[in-house]
């Protein structure tokens, strides 16, 4: 599918992308609206929009307290851990903000199947039981068959295997599930089609609509858990948050057996030196996380090592229920330490498993590595 930018008119896009009424709420909410939302028994779309508004910014502490109580109620005093494994940095797309974009001048490599086994064994020795396998967009080097075989191998090592690769067909997702894949993460990057187009300069990722529809195909193919996110810094974060929420709300009704998680990736410095027009401050990141926790009290909210230790420790259990640990964003590297390769982005929390778990425990949180079982795939 290669839809040109010119074809991506708003008419072709799903009606739910129009969040104008909610956006209006988020732009005009008052302190009284915020207090009413915080006192509400149920946070619906309107209250969510209120909590995203500038008027809610002075209420961060109140939101944090509710976020912690809700996180604790549903997930207890636990944080589920996972680690990413970059299988390949070949890419067929030209995302302006990505260190792995096809026009970036750095060595390309992918893990051989034997190397993938070695890396998975190294992660297993670190205690990891949930691995997220990553690649760039679809390439001949890291195609569907390659990912499928890596999933099969990972499933032999790990309790849970998830992927973050590229949009696939329903049949391909079904094959991944059969190989042992439980979850699929696919960030829309931004839900603003007009912003999306110039950032995705060429390649299959230019097709905004095909990407938008990928989680529905994944769920139709039997994927049990879908991860969502907007890359914070690309567009108006409030608009993206409202559309992301609406995206999940619609899919939850259609695919009622599935799990839906939200991640909060903030743009990090990368090899290409992309500069953001929409920087997201720590306080705004907090507001986003807390608002999502209040609106989605039962969904996993995840925070990766893009964020520094101080913030990761602070958000753990206060909205956030799932975290990556000891991540490398280079291709492989767990077996012999990072070998000087270029990462997709700069990791900001380089603590190893032991140090990170010690920090969680010091905060009264139990790190949980195995929270799944091969019986369920």
């Amino acid at each position: 599918m290669t839809t040109d930018h010119e074809q991506l008119t708003t008419d072709a896009l799903p009606a739910w992308l129009d969040v104008a009424p909610l956006l209006s709420v988020a732009r005009t909410a008052t302190a009284a609206d915020v207090e009413a939302a915080l006192a509400a028994a149920h946070i619906g779309p309107r209250e969510f929009a209120v909590l995203l508004s500038p008027a809610a910014a002075p209420y961060l502490e109140n939101m944090a307290r509710v976020a912690q109580a809700l996180t604790r109620r549903h997930f207890g005093r636990t944080i589920t851990l996972y680690a990413p494994l970059y299988l390949s940095n070949f890419c067929s797309s030209g995302c302006a903000y990505c260190g792995f974009a096809a026009d970036r001048d750095h060595p390309r490599r992918k893990l051989s199947f034997d190397e993938a086994d070695t890396e998975l064994a190294a992660l297993k020795r670190m205690g990891i039981e949930e691995v997220l396998l990553l690649t760039g967009e679809r390439t001949p080097q890291a195609d569907f068959a390659y990912i499928c075989e890596c999933v099969r191998r990972a499933a032999a090592h790990m309790a849970m295997v998830t992927v973050e690769t590229f949009p696939m067909t329903t049949a391909e997702y079904a094959e991944l599930v059969a190989a042992g894949c439980t979850g699929d993460t696919l960030y829309q990057e931004t839900y603003d089609a007009a912003v999306y187009a110039p950032l995705h300069r060429w390649g299959p990722k230019r097709d905004f609509a095909a990407r938008l529809d990928a989680p529905a195909r994944a769920l139709a193919g039997g994927i049990r858990q879908c991860g969502f996110g907007a890359l914070l810094g690309l567009a108006d974060p409030i608009e993206d948050a409202l559309r992301l929420y609406t995206h999940i709300a619609g899919l939850q009704k259609q695919f009622w057996r599935a799990g839906f998680s939200v991640s909060f990736p903030r743009l990090r410095p990368e090899a290409g030196g992309f500069q953001t027009d929409h920087p997201v401050s720590d306080a705004l990141l907090a507001q986003l996380i807390f608002a999502f926790r209040l609106a989605l009290p039962e969904n996993h909210l995840a925070l990766s090592t893009r964020e520094p230790a101080k913030l990761r420790d602070g958000f753990a259990g206060v909205g956030i229920s799932k975290m990556s640990v000891a991540s490398l964003t280079t291709v492989g590297g767990y077996d012999h330490g990072a070998e000087g390769g270029v990462g997709q982005f700069a990791v900001n929390d380089a603590r190893g498993v032991a140090d990170f778990c010690a920090a969680l425990r010091a905060a009264g949180l139990e790190p949980v590595f195995k929270n799944w079982d091969a019986a369920y795939r």
């Binding site: 109620r73 205690g127 799990g259 590595f369 195995k370």
Partner: protein, 261 residues
């Protein structure tokens, strides 16, 4: 007075408080809470079995405890086939015949799937498991589960983790009145008074997890639940005075029946 025992199949227990083991800040706290609760049946999710890594394994520390019977659960299963598979694996791993069948296809609200639960219960009961199904508070489903040979029924008091208490108390009352197997309220409790209320209603036992694990001081809360369960059971055995259904009218409504003209 004869010993007041909780009977699950051919097993008997003196404690009527069952404890869930997830959601605690660490294993040590969980074990202290367990000791304080006096629970003799604890449930542990197969997905939290991790023999490869002791620090992450919930099963290991529990399996060492004297006087505690493990009841593995199938949390994570989306349908009967997965729950049956998980139950068989759990029995292999820990040797317990007790199995808490938990089939909640939606990982957000964790509500039980009645149709899949009935099917899994039928298969597992026939295989000799003592099946303890987590179920909606549905009196007809309770009888259907009894018919396929479950060892108890475990209706939810309210949505799991919600702390809403005995929202389903009228349904629970009907289930209890009609049940020939122990009725154990599972999920939804927040306060010890609600556990006492469940026992007063005639529930054979209650299972709590979040209410203890998410409390400010879990060990103390476990002890409080233990006391509440004992009080509730004692009250049930003592027989509560009938609740008056209506206030007596100052002017009798039936005087007209005796009117002379």
């Amino acid at each position: 007075m004869s010993a007041d025992l909780l009977q699950i199949g051919d097993l008997t227990f003196t404690s009527r408080l069952l404890l869930g083991t997830g959601k605690f800040s660490d294993s040590a706290t969980m074990l202290r809470a367990l000791a304080a609760s006096g629970a003799q049946i604890v449930t542990v999710a197969l997905r939290r079995f991790n023999p490869a890594q002791a620090a992450d394994d919930l099963f290991g520390p529990l399996s060492q405890l004297p006087g505690v019977t493990l009841m593995p659960n199938t949390s994570g299963a989306r349908d009967a086939a997965e729950a049956i598979r998980a139950a068989r694996i759990a029995r292999e791993l820990c040797g317990s015949r007790l199995i808490k069948v938990e089939i909640h296809p939606n990982p957000q609200h964790l509500l039980p799937d009645a149709i899949e639960t009935l099917e899994a219960a039928r298969v597992l009961a026939a295989e000799g498991f003592l099946v303890m199904p987590y179920m909606p508070a549905d009196p007809v489903l309770a009888k259907r589960l009894e018919d396929v040979g479950v060892a108890s029924v475990m209706p939810l008091g309210a949505p799991i983790g919600s702390g809403q208490g005995l929202g389903a108390s009228e349904m629970l009352r009907i289930i209890i009145e009609n049940s020939r197997v122990p009725v154990i309220v599972d999920a939804g409790l927040r306060a010890p008074s609600e556990a006492a209320g469940a026992l007063e209603l005639g529930c054979a036992a209650v299972l709590v997890n979040s209410a203890v694990a998410a409390a400010e001081r879990p060990v103390e809360m476990a002890a409080a639940f233990a006391q509440a369960v004992q009080a509730g059971r004692a009250a049930y055995r003592a027989g509560l005075m009938p609740r008056r259904s209506a206030a007596s009218a100052t002017s009798p409504l039936t005087n007209f029946l005796n009117a002379q003209t």
